[in-house]
Every structure is written in structure tokens, then in C-alpha cells.
């Protein structure tokens, strides 16, 4: 690569990086400034963070939304990982024609837009008396073809020798899964965990449908509430956005590689 081309490449990448990060920097500054300053576009951190926090807490039940969001996302992640990993393992390790056929049927579910099944799902949840419960949030998204595929692909690289040796040692089939597969596949679990947690945390449409009482409010719903009313307090809004983004941003920055492997993993 010649020098000129290199400079051009860097210029493009710097511009793209700047544009990607700038709105987040704007959010950070906004959370520490007054509403007027945010709208004016003040781009240096201010001293209004505590006031913004006070008005946010006075305005919305922040603790409740945080607790709900963490509970929903953690339960969703744990159950999804268990159900989908054992299914992916079952599909691959014990595969035969019937199981492969079932997998291709399940893959069709990837094509279904959520909005197409939303109304019957809502009717189902209200029929079962589950509206406003975490179960209603979790149930429809526990099992996804994507996650099953991710673990099915991972099982492909699980050495058959280990299975045979474990069987000779008298380990049961389920024992092999929990004692051999799970520890060896830590990185796949890491990737699946990151993706599932972030999706669960950020989910908005389905919670908006199924969480109808104020007691079941989640963080994205809280952020959406902040913009209603006659005048928007942008400082408070940006602080809400920041708080809602922090958990996923921390996970993202720590487990970036995992996340990238998670979203691209099932398609390799």
C-alpha cells in the first residue's frame, strides 16, 4: 500500500470512528448538563449530573426498572443457554435423518417476523394469566433457531474421543454434556451469553405489549417514558439513556470478541 493510500484509509477510518463515537460522547456530556445546554449542543461535560439524577429519580421509578431489567435479562440468559445448548448438542451428537429434518423445520422460525405472531402470543399470555409476569417476557424467546444453530456448530468441534472415553468411564449421556461439553465450550457460552443478555436487555416491543402495569416497567420503557410530556428535560433524558446503556456497554467492551463471535458464530 502506498503512503497516499494509507493516509486515505486512515482518514476514512478516523471519520467513521468519530461519527460512531460522537453521539455517545454527546450522550455522556448531556447527562452532566442542563436541558438547555444539551439542546444548545454544549460538548464539554458539565456539573449538573447530580441534579439530573435527582430529577430522574423523582420522575421515574429507576430502581424498579433496573431491578426488573436485570431480573428479566438474567433469567432469560440462564434459561436460554441451558435449553438451546443442550438442544444444539442433541441435534449434532445424536444426529440422524429425522433430527436433521426437524432442524430444517425449526430454521423456518427464523423467517417469521415477530410482529406476525405478536397478537396470538399476547392472547395466549393473557389466557394463561401471565401478563405482567417475567415468564410472559421470557417464554417466547427462550428457544431460538439461531442459538440452537450456534451450539450445534460448536458441538461439531467437540471431539468424539472424549465422548467415547467418558462412556467407557461410565459417565451417563447427560453427565457427559454437563461435565465435559459445558466446561470445554466456555467461549461459545460466553458468546451466547453476551448476545442473549444484550437482546433481552434492549428488547422493547414485546415488553411494551406484555408489561402493562407500572410495576413491571423495564429500562428501555423508562427511557421511552422520559420523552413524553409537554417539555422534555434533555439532561435527565440523556442520563436515563446513559444508565440504560451502561450495563450493555460494559458487557460489550469486556466481551467484544465474544459478542462478535456470537453474532457471526452460527453462520460459519
Amino acid at each position: 500500500m502506498t503512503k497516499g493510500k494509507k493516509i486515505l484509509a486512515h482518514a476514512v477510518l478516523i471519520l467513521a470512528s468519530f461519527l460512531s463515537v460522537f453521539p455517545l460522547y454527546y450522550m455522556l456530556c448531556g447527562a452532566t448538563n442542563t436541558s438547555i445546554d444539551v439542546v444548545r449542543g454544549k460538548l464539554i461535560p458539565g456539573t449538573y449530573l447530580v441534579e439530573n439524577f435527582k430529577s430522574l429519580v423523582a420522575n421515574q421509578n429507576l430502581g424498579l426498572a433496573m431491578a426488573n431489567s436485570f431480573r428479566n435479562a438474567i433469567l432469560m440468559t440462564l434459561i436460554t443457554l441451558l435449553v438451546c445448548s443442550i438442544a444444539g448438542y442433541g441435534f449434532e451428537i445424536y444426529h440422524d435423518k429425522a433430527k436433521d429434518a426437524l432442524m430444517s423445520v425449526l430454521l423456518l422460525a427464523m423467517m417469521l417476523p415477530f410482529v406476525a405472531i405478536m397478537i396470538p402470543l399476547f392472547k395466549m399470555m393473557s389466557h394463561w394469566g401471565l401478563v405482567n409476569s417475567w415468564a410472559a417476557f421470557v417464554l417466547p424467546s427462550i428457544s431460538t433457531p439461531f442459538m440452537i444453530m450456534l451450539f450445534r456448530q460448536a458441538s461439531r468441534s467437540f471431539p468424539n474421543d472424549i465422548i467415547e472415553a467418558a462412556r467407557l468411564d461410565g459417565l451417563s449421556e447427560i453427565g457427559i454434556f454437563f461435565r465435559m461439553f459445558v466446561p470445554i465450550m466456555r467461549s461459545t457460552y460466553g458468546a451466547a451469553m453476551t448476545v442473549t443478555f444484550m437482546n433481552a436487555w434492549n428488547s422493547y416491543l414485546w415488553p411494551k405489549v406484555v408489561f402493562q402495569s407500572n410495576a413491571s416497567i423495564t429500562m428501555p420503557m423508562l427511557v421511552a417514558n422520559l420523552k413524553s410530556g409537554y417539555s422534555v428535560d434533555y439532561g435527565m433524558l440523556m442520563l436515563g439513556v446513559l444508565i440504560c446503556t451502561l450495563p450493555t456497554a460494559i458487557i460489550f467492551l469486556c466481551l467484544q470478541k465474544s459478542f462478535a463471535n456470537g453474532i457471526t458464530g452460527a453462520v460459519k
Binding site: 500500500m1 493510500k5 484509509a9 476514512v12 477510518l13 478516523i14 467513521a16 470512528s17 460512531s20 463515537v21 453521539p23 455517545l24 450522550m27 448531556g30 439542546v39 444548545r40 460538548l43 435449553v83 438451546c84 443442550i86 438442544a87 442433541g90 441435534f91 445424536y94 433430527k99 426437524l102 425449526l106 422460525a109 423467517m111 417476523p113 410482529v115 406476525a116 405472531i117 405478536m118 397478537i119 396470538p120 402470543l121 395466549m124 417464554l139 417466547p140 427462550i142 428457544s143 449421556e173 454434556f177 436487555w201 416491543l205 411494551k208 405489549v209 428501555p220 427511557v223 420523552k227 434533555y234 440523556m238 439513556v241 440504560c244 446503556t245 450493555t248 460489550f252 467484544q256 453462520v267
Partner: protein
């Protein structure tokens, strides 16, 4: 002679079924069954004990629904404009980040990928504030002497805000797919092409795009399905406005199901329509993707 009970193979096969059954059942109960229900709903009218067959009445109604046509237009606009811009940008960035002698690749990648960490509601709020009437974008415009735009009062401006926001949120996401794809390609192909005198543009068009075709196809299908299901941005960034100029199909279906007096049957017909569109567009993309083999 037949053995009594199950032999080892059969036992293991059954174990496999037991392992995958919970996941498979969940998909049938919470995906396929509701889809069938939606289909049935779309051919009915009335609620509770007054349910009656409606034939194609709900579908006929779609054709005469002006709001639906507006939302369909908006959704198609986002699809036709935003998806190509985003995918081409993502391809270019991935190509740049894949060249071996660029320093600081890790930092660039992290920064460009970072928007993925924000929830759709959160980034909608950030862009709402950036593009507010007296917000930062208009301030910058007026400083450099360009007339300001009333972003959320002007239908086309508001649509472009949504497109810009979507490109910001999803370019890095797609770039990661392309980077994963490019890493499977031996870089010496590019060296050889350069020795043969291929320009960077020629390398991009004749090497990168054909080699990444499966990945491009995948991202195109994901983006198609994602665009047709846009909701969070339409609700929180523009509230569907001005009027209904930026409202998406999913936003409209949500409104007629849960905001106005519920019209579940009609909403079900609309959602079946979206399903068909997603399926047809994905099929077309796969056909086109297969052709140039």
C-alpha cells in the same frame, strides 16, 4: 433374532430426542402455533363469542387503507435507501480494516462497532436530541451557512433522520460479519491481483464482493427482515410523524392492536402480509445470490 428392549444405538437416539425436545417444543408452541393462529385470526371478524368467518374481508380492507399505504411506502423507502447505503459502507470499512498494514485496527473496529452496545430506544433518544429544532445538527448547519431544517416537521427530513440513525446503529454490526468473512479469504489473492495490475476498485468489485457473496446475502436477508420490522425508532425517534409520514408497518400494527380500539383480526391480516413480503424478498435475494455462481 430380535433383542428385547432397546439396543445402545436406539437408547442414544432417544437421549438425543430428550435433549432437543424442550427447545423444539418451545419453538412450536411460541412460534409456529401463534403463526397458525394469526392466519386463522386474519380470516375472522368479531371477538369473543361473536367470532365469524370473514373470508378475505380483512385482506380486501388492506387495499383500501390509506394509512397502511403510507406506512408501506415509508417502510419500502427505509428498505430501498438505507439497506444498500449501510451494506456498502460496512463492506468498505471491513475491506479497509482487513488490509494487513494498517495500524490501530483494533481501536477502529471497537469504535465503529460500539453503536451496537446501545439499545434501540436509547439511540433513538440521542438522535431525537441531536436533530431537535434548536439542536446540535441545526446549530452546526447554521454556523457553516447552510439553512437549518425543521427535521421532525418535514416528512422527507424526518425519514432521512431515521435512515441516518439506522445507518449509525447497524453499519458496525454488518461490518463485523464482513470482517469474519474476509478473514476466511487468503490475503495472497489480493497480492496476486495487485501484481496483475488490478486497481483497488477492481479488487473490491471482482474479488471482495464475489468472495463474500454468502455473507452479503446473509446480511441482506437480515437487514430486509429487520427493516420490515422497524418499530422502536418509529415510535421513539419521530413518533411516526409528522402526521404518519415516518410510521412503519410494525408501528401501525402495534397501534391498531394496542393503542386504538383493538382490531386484532385486521392487525393479523396486516402481519400475515408482512410475513409474505419478508418471505418473497428473501427468496428473491437468494435467487439473485445464487445466479452468478
Amino acid at each position: 433374532m430380535k433383542k428385547k428392549g432397546l439396543n445402545m444405538e436406539q437408547k442414544r437416539s432417544l437421549t438425543g430426542w430428550a435433549f432437543l425436545l424442550p427447545a423444539a417444543l418451545l419453538i412450536f408452541v411460541f412460534c409456529f402455533y401463534p403463526m397458525v393462529q394469526a392466519l386463522i385470526l386474519s380470516f375472522q371478524k368479531g371477538t369473543g363469542s361473536a367470532v365469524q368467518p370473514a373470508g378475505f374481508a380483512n385482506y380486501v380492507r388492506i387495499l383500501k387503507d390509506a394509512t397502511f399505504q403510507q406506512c408501506l411506502f415509508n417502510t419500502i423507502f427505509y428498505f430501498v435507501i438505507q439497506v444498500p447505503i449501510m451494506l456498502i459502507l460496512a463492506l468498505i470499512l471491513a475491506q479497509l480494516l482487513n488490509s494487513p498494514n494498517i495500524k490501530g485496527k483494533g481501536i477502529y473496529r471497537t469504535m465503529i462497532f460500539l453503536p451496537c452496545a446501545t439499545s434501540l430506544v436509547s439511540y433513538s433518544m440521542i438522535f431525537k436530541s441531536l436533530f431537535a429544532n434548536d439542536g446540535l445538527v441545526n446549530r452546526v448547519l447554521s454556523t457553516v451557512g447552510i439553512p437549518t431544517v425543521d427535521w421532525f416537521q418535514n416528512a422527507w427530513a424526518a425519514r432521512w433522520v431515521i435512515v441516518i440513525a439506522l445507518v449509525w446503529r447497524w453499519t458496525g454490526y454488518n461490518m463485523v460479519f464482513y470482517l469474519a468473512g474476509l478473514q476466511n479469504i487468503d490475503y495472497s489473492i489480493y497480492e496476486a491481483a495487485r501484481i496483475d495490475g488490478a486497481s483497488p476498485l477492481q479488487q473490491f468489485v471482482h474479488l471482495t464482493i464475489p468472495l463474500l457473496k454468502p455473507t452479503i446475502l446473509l446480511t441482506a436477508i437480515m437487514s430486509t427482515s429487520g427493516t420490515l420490522q422497524l418499530f422502536d425508532e418509529s415510535v421513539n425517534l419521530t413518533a411516526g410523524g409528522p402526521g404518519k409520514a415516518t410510521m412503519t408497518l410494525t408501528h401501525y400494527i402495534y397501534n391498531i392492536s394496542f393503542v386504538e380500539t383493538p382490531k386484532f383480526n385486521y392487525a393479523a391480516a396486516l402481519s400475515v402480509f408482512i410475513l409474505v413480503v419478508v418471505a418473497v424478498l428473501s427468496a428473491i435475494q437468494m435467487k439473485v445470490g445464487d445466479k452468478r455462481d
